[in-house]
Amino acid sequence: MNISLNWLSTHLDLSGKSIDEISDLFTFAGVEVEGIVTKGIASEKIVVGQIMEAVQHPDADKLKVTQVDAGEGQLRQIVCGAKNYKVGDKVPCCLPGADLGGFVIGETKMRGVESKGMLAAAEEIGLPKGEDGLLILPEDSPVGVPVKTLFDSDTLLELEVTPNRPDLLSHAGMGRELATLLKTPLLTEKSPETATAAASADFIKLESAEACPFYTATRIDNVTVTESPDWLKERLTSIGLRPINNVVDITNYVLHETGQPLHAFDASKVSGALVIRHATDGEKFIALDESEHTLTPEDLLISDKSGAALALAGVMGGLDSGVTESTTSILLESAYFSPSGIRRTSRRTFLSSDSSYRFERGADPQAVLPAAALAIKLMESRLPDGSIQTAGKLPEPPSPVTLDLDRLHHLLGDSISTEAAEEILTRLGLNKLAEGKWAIPSFRQDLTRHIDLAEEITRVHGLDNVPSRLRATLVPTSDTDAAYDADMILRRRLAALGLYECQTIKLIAENQMTDILPLRPLQDGDIIRVKSPLSEDHAIMRPSIVPGLVASAERNARQQAKSLRLFEMGRVFRNAGGGKAKDQESDNLAILVSGNVTPSSWAAKDRPADLYDAKAILSALLPGHAISLKPKDRENVSLAADIKAGDQTIGAFARLSLKRERDLDFTHPVFIAELDLGKLRKLILGKFQVEPLPQFPGSTRDAAMELGIDTPNADIEAALGKANEALLVSYECFDLFTDPSGEKIPADRKSIAYRFNYRDSSRTLKQQDVDAAHKKVLEALGKVSGLTFR
């Protein structure tokens, strides 16, 4: 909301307060100052100066050396190039230090002659451009006073009023609040108009007392619709409103002065009485901004006998019922509409106005009649008493509220006296009743409970005046704590392995679904879509993190990143069973690896990551767990597999389909993995006991084998498992060789070498024991299809 400081000053005396002080006042009243705009001359150092003498500059034809009386007791020498003045004229004199919009005047020498300031033209000091040369001030301008006092200047404050304080949405309301905080009186000439009114059953037909408890309308005849007087136009422009005509401007003025919205109908467009009724289902309404709306019975209309919709009550007038230049009689509406109805209509129709903004937050019912009276007065209409016709009745005044002093002092840490607390409430317009009860003014409908009063006291008292207390409590570790700790361990491991942690938006696009790697298959109905997405790019809740990483990788690749090693942890969302089990959330870890394994260097050739690099990251993430990939078909991706830790499936692995890699312009294979963070946490946090170190030496035996190139290594491992040799404690594959040319070994064969480690934990093995064990192992290997020993 915009507040003009000049306008506000008609309610209370703000002289002597700097704008920063006023801004702080608002801040600590709970009103955020979002902007301060100064209009007119800002600087105090631009004063009225009288030119007492002007002689030719000795070294410059176009300059004169003037002696200026700026009310300082002695003359000030200023070099000036203007021609439009004569000695004796009064002009703006900028003293050293005057800030002309960022340009600060100083003392200087011009062509060797001292110049202690500047004589200014109108536009130089922020006024509209006048005649060429200096701004000649009126002869009676007092020498030495700031020029700003001779011209209108104003400060516009852009304020953010919280929704609980509709009483602050006007200059009168804001003035009342500041007067309370400053402990200064309000200026009495601005007290509300009083008005007499008469109930009317004929003129106003009020059909919904719930949506509109109180409605008034005043017929004003012999109206001349014309331009508003200057003062009114100035008021409106000072808060950024465009003057339209005197009638509309007066209603706008009254709204921003009192907070009570008014509406003026052209009386000639209203047939018979005003009817305040709910819309019929599907009724059409064209607002004065020419937008068309289909209404529901929840919406309240101002209508007439003909049934025509004149206005959407409290929100916006209709296109045809408003005041125009040809209007001669008006019906002036001032009413109290219930907040929730206005709120619903405004939300549903996406129509909002200064009027609906106030009604939906709660206008002051007691302002209805004074606001009407003020408007009538401003229209210079002398109407007989009782011309304001009313229907319905004003809502009951707010119920008294009890202030619990014990709880108040506890809340504030005993930092305020009861007297001081009560004084604050009194200043805020509350009246102390018996038994700790307080009467609430009608403009503070938000005060209904003890805590509301306590809040007011706290706010005015200020948290600065409340002591600080430091307390720590012992709390047991929660499951969430444990999960967090596990996540941090995993994060740090991945970072140490050379991966960057990412954060992507959890709302993804439909077309990103090609990249998903869900841990359980998705059926129709398992994807969760938001109802009204901001764009198709963010339409569905991600069922998998991988798509976000693929998009991040793509963006980095476009920036010529050669090494893409990314991970992200976070929520994924899905339904299950084709939508039967709704809104399942779980935490996943996703990894993406593509491109160079290390940054480029002189010491090694660039090498793009292959499958086994990706697998190495998975293994290093969970040391001590046997990580394996078990091939499993998946849509849209290649090389798909389940990731296993021992026998447990902990995630899904794949390479993007080669087509997808080409489509996204990836030049290297893109490996992706999505892991179940819940399972990883259990693996990370599992308790364990150390294995004793071996006490006896072991022996190793190697075996070089040859087998079909398509025979998976898993067959060898399976055979070793079947050998079930107790002495075989570990083995490793230490060589793999293929020769596509077929020269060294047939092209369809591969040579593979394993080392087997034999050990007995209770004794040193004899050679024949090792030989026997190795023989058993080799026999088991011999059963692998197509395997021969070399």
Binding site: R344, A454, L463, S478, D481
Partner: protein, 425 residues
């Protein structure tokens, strides 16, 4: 004489290594001279296994051999054909000088070791000479022993010196030609996301004060996101323009405050939790807005929780976060679920700007209406609003990260450009 002739082939002149020499007696072979390894004049030779060549100090040569445990001495005249070696002291001197020369000319460990073996090795020239001591008359043994020891000492120390010299050269060579200024080999670098870093920092601070972590769903119902938080049904936030809804009627939580409700529904006071998590608002993504952002929620509910607790806790938090001298202020504000409510500003200096107040969090005392609606759900009075009080706070982690690191555009936090991320590695 001819009948008893001992003959060394070749018969005249010193014997040389590498030339197999057969010893014949009366024309028949009775021994092989071990071919010597080195190219210098044969001074002594040993006859393999059974025989020994003995040189007497006067220079006469006897050959003694053992055969089937018998020792026979050849008659002296038979040996006259063999040239007599020089006297013993000369021989030792000669051994020493040849050994020293070999040592001096050694160029590496291996040739030095060869020189050692050739002189003082088990079968080296000096060792073989030493073996003769038992055949030397007693009165000369001492002198012979001394000259032997002197030679051995000289050779050993020459070897040691040479070895040290060779090592020095090798060590120098091992370090020469290494360019310290060449760039490093490459290792991949990785790092945590700035949001993780700032979140972890916040969590560490709050854990020190005894807050435990809590969480809740991001797809929330209106009750937990709004109703229970005292937000009326027609509150401005509750519409499809500002909040993401689903056809099911559920929504994406607009704040992590819903976790307060979830926690209080099951736990009993004292409750002291923090809940970091995502929240969603239907904002177009631009330099200052994200539709998905990150918050950290805090809640302390007990029988004696007051504004001084709220103030002390949050002052401590922001002093830890931004430095103990950072000014913190509490501005009155409005939230439906707290009363009184405040926004918290800290006064910070951003590079190149004068210090200014920057909003960092919202907080307040839990509104009794929140306790009442939870009690209604719990069907008890565990959170009796006449006895239980509490404070809650919430802060935007994205915003804290932006303030901490001077990030101007919030989109950097979701674009994952590695040039950005690597700055946090």
């Amino acid at each position: 004489m001819d009948a008893n002739r001992l003959q060394l082939n070749p018969s005249n002149g010193p014997l040389y290594a590498g030339i197999p020499t057969i010893v014949t007696y009366n024309g028949s072979n009775f021994a092989n001279l071990v071919p010597l390894k080195y190219k210098y004049p044969l001074l002594f030779a040993s006859i393999r296994v059974h025989s020994r060549l003995i040189i007497q100090n006067e220079g006469a040569l006897f050959l003694e051999w053992q055969n089937r445990h018998q020792t026979k001495l050849l008659p002296r005249p038979l040996l006259s054909a063999i040239p007599l070696p020089p006297p013993m002291n000369e021989q030792i001197a000669s051994i020493q000088s040849q050994a020293l020369e070999l040592i001096a000319t050694a160029t590496d460990e291996r040739s030095l070791d060869d020189a050692r073996v050739a002189s003082i090795g088990k079968k080296g020239t000096l060792s073989l000479a030493g073996a003769l001591i038992k055949d030397i008359p007693n009165e000369e043994k001492a002198a012979f022993g001394q000259s032997l020891n002197a030679a051995r000492t000289a050779i050993t120390s020459a070897i040691d010196e040479k070895q040290a010299a060779l090592q020095e050269v090798a060590d120098k060579a091992a370090l020469s030609g290494i360019d310290l200024t060449l760039p490093a080999r490459a290792l991949p670098t990785g790092g945590l996301h700035p949001l993780t870093l700032i979140r972890d920092e916040a969590i560490q601070i709050l854990r020190r004060m005894g807050f435990a972590l809590a969480e809740g769903p991001e797809i929330e119902d209106e009750y937990h996101c709004f109703d229970a938080l005292n937000t009326p049904a027609d509150h401005p936030a509750r519409n499809e323009k500002d909040t993401f809804y689903f056809n099911s009627g559920k929504l994406l939580r607009t704040h992590t405050s819903s976790v307060q409700i979830r926690t209080m529904e099951t736990a009993a006071p004292p409750i002291r939790i923090i809940a970091p998590g995502s929240a969603y608002r239907r904002d177009e993504i631009d330099a200052t807005h994200l539709s998905v952002f990150n918050q950290l929620e805090g809640l302390f509910v007990d029988t004696d929780v007051t504004l001084p607790d709220l103030k002390g806790t949050l002052e401590y938090f922001f002093h830890e976060m931004f430095g103990t001298s950072t000014e913190v202020r509490f501005r009155p504000h409005f939230f439906p679920f707290t009363e009184p409510s405040f926004e918290i500003d800290v006064k910070l200096q951003i590079k190149g700007q004068p210090p200014r107040w920057i909003e960092v969090a919202g907080c307040g005392m839990v509104d009794p209406a929140v306790f009442e609606s939870i009690n209604a759900t719990r069907k008890d009075n565990a959170l009796d609003p006449t006895k239980i009080t509490g404070f809650a706070f919430g802060m935007g982690l994205d915003r804290l990260a932006m303030i901490r690191w001077g990030i101007r555009d919030i989109r950097l936090l979701i674009e994952n450009d590695t040039r950005f991320l690597s700055q946090f590695a």
